[in-house]
């Protein structure tokens, strides 16, 4: 009975923390909520229960790259988006193509991006993506000039609701020819 109370209370604390966080919470973050020692397995179990509790409700508990978060169910999102129609600037095609190349072919240098796109890269594009914290420099390629190598960040995965790069949509080129990309 006592134990049950404690579990119920822990679940409440977890729910409140996740509903107020505004960003994903890692297991480490969540362990800090409790003064007593809590096993990761217990935490995972509680998160699982929470997920089920909310199954038919307005939010869903999802796991993304950096942790867990509640987010509005998809069928409600479009209503909410109406409140702030201009919040998110739409990126140009050049920005999105650069992002795609970094996401799918990382780590890449600016030269690699220029080769694939067939045009000189506007430095402003990379700056925009870095400012959004979607890409960052992960090293230098050991060739003359030591160009920076770019890769996507965990924040990028979070923002696109992904746990890892392997969850990126599969891309088929010239699907009508049925020829695999790496052939």
């Amino acid at each position: 009975m006592k134990e049950l109370d404690k579990i119920a209370e822990m679940k409440q604390v977890l729910e409140a923390a996740l509903l107020t966080a505004g960003q994903p919470l890692s297991l480490e973050d969540m362990l800090k909520l409790f003064s007593s020692r809590v096993e990761r397995a217990t935490l995972r179990m509680l998160l699982d229960e929470l997920k089920q509790d909310w199954e038919d409700k307005t939010m869903e508990l999802v796991q993304v790259a950096t942790g867990y978060r509640f987010q509005a169910k998809a069928h409600l999102s479009s209503y909410i988006a109406r409140m702030n129609p201009e919040r998110q600037p739409k990126y140009s095609r050049a920005v999105m193509e650069t992002l795609a190349i970094i996401a799918y072919r990382q780590p890449v240098t600016r030269g690699d991006i220029e080769d694939i796109r067939g045009v000189a890269a506007n430095p402003n594009i990379l700056r925009q993506l870095i400012e959004r914290d979607w890409i960052d420099v992960v090293g230098q390629r050991e060739v003359p000039g030591r160009p920076s190598l770019y890769a996507t960040t965990k924040h990028f995965l979070d923002d696109l609701n992904l746990r890892s790069l392997s969850e990126l949509p599969q891309v088929e080129d010239f699907s009508q020819t049925g020829m695999p990309l790496d052939a």
Partner: protein
């Protein structure tokens, strides 16, 4: 056919509906040509428009059309990136190599178009990937993360102190005070000082104690006995406890040294 500039869509599908000939009002043409992300994008569009097989491109058709568009771009003084001109040169080179007599066995790599095809396919893959990424719901747009309010109670943690901090402070004290400078403070003395506090604490709560009660018989008994004994002697020397014994060999009592 009049083309409204607003009709121009970025994606390839909308573009494919544009007229085959290039009778486009000059101002619209500019916008139209600007929608291409570069020579590869233009080439992909031309391949689609002409229903060319990417694996068997008719270089003559593609090159001619490409040059036509580039000429139009020049004509309307669109600032033509070097990339477009570079591609012109590449296309012409491929076209001329295609005209050379073929060797007996044609390997894939020997096909002058191979590199171009590889680049077109890679670019198209990334172009499609960009569209996919663009359409995915993102945080800040179509994806809203729970962010309710909570009272930010000031949960202030006191500063952390490490053993190193403590030792540094003690060294400082010693350096300045020149106090007790005649011996180093050993572990044993620290133990004694600790036990002085322990005995005092106990006497504080219990009033009077039998001397023998102050020695527990647990682990490390002998070591503790010595330390405890030294602690009691030190306490007595500093006048902090009173030790009494009614007669020789009778029970020894310890109590806090009350003045009265």
């Amino acid at each position: 056919m009049l083309l409204e500039t607003t009709d121009i869509k970025i994606n390839g599908e909308a573009l494919s509906e544009l007229p085959q000939d290039l009778y486009i009002p000059p101002n619209a043409l500019e916008v139209y040509l600007e929608t291409f992300e570069g020579p590869l994008d233009l080439l992909l569009y031309l391949i689609r428009k002409n229903n060319l097989d990417i694996l068997n491109i008719q270089m003559a058709v593609l090159t001619d059309q490409y040059m036509l568009y580039v000429e139009k771009m020049k004509a309307i003084k669109l600032e033509l990136a070097a990339d477009y001109l570079l591609m012109s040169a590449m296309l012409i080179e491929i076209k001329s190599r295609m005209l050379l007599p073929k060797p007996e066995e044609v390997e894939d790599e020997d096909d002058p178009r191979a590199e171009l095809v590889r680049r077109l396919m890679e670019y198209e893959a990334m172009k499609l990937a960009a569209q996919e990424l663009d359409e995915m719901p993102k945080v800040g747009g179509e994806l809203q993360v729970a962010h309710a309010y909570y009272q930010h109670v000031a949960e202030i943690k006191p500063p952390e102190v490490s053993v190193d901090d403590l030792v540094a402070a003690w060294k400082n004290v010693l350096k300045r005070a020149k106090l007790n400078s005649h011996h180093k403070l050993g572990r044993a003395e620290l133990s004694v000082r600790e036990h002085m506090s322990i005995v005092l604490r106990r006497l504080q709560s219990e009033g009077m104690c039998e001397f023998s009660e102050l020695f527990d018989h647990g682990e490390g008994y002998l070591q503790k006995l010595v330390v405890n004994f030294l602690a009691i002697l030190e306490l007595s020397k500093e006048g902090l406890v009173k030790i009494t014994q009614q007669a020789a060999f009778s029970t020894i009592y310890l109590q806090v040294n009350n003045a009265e």
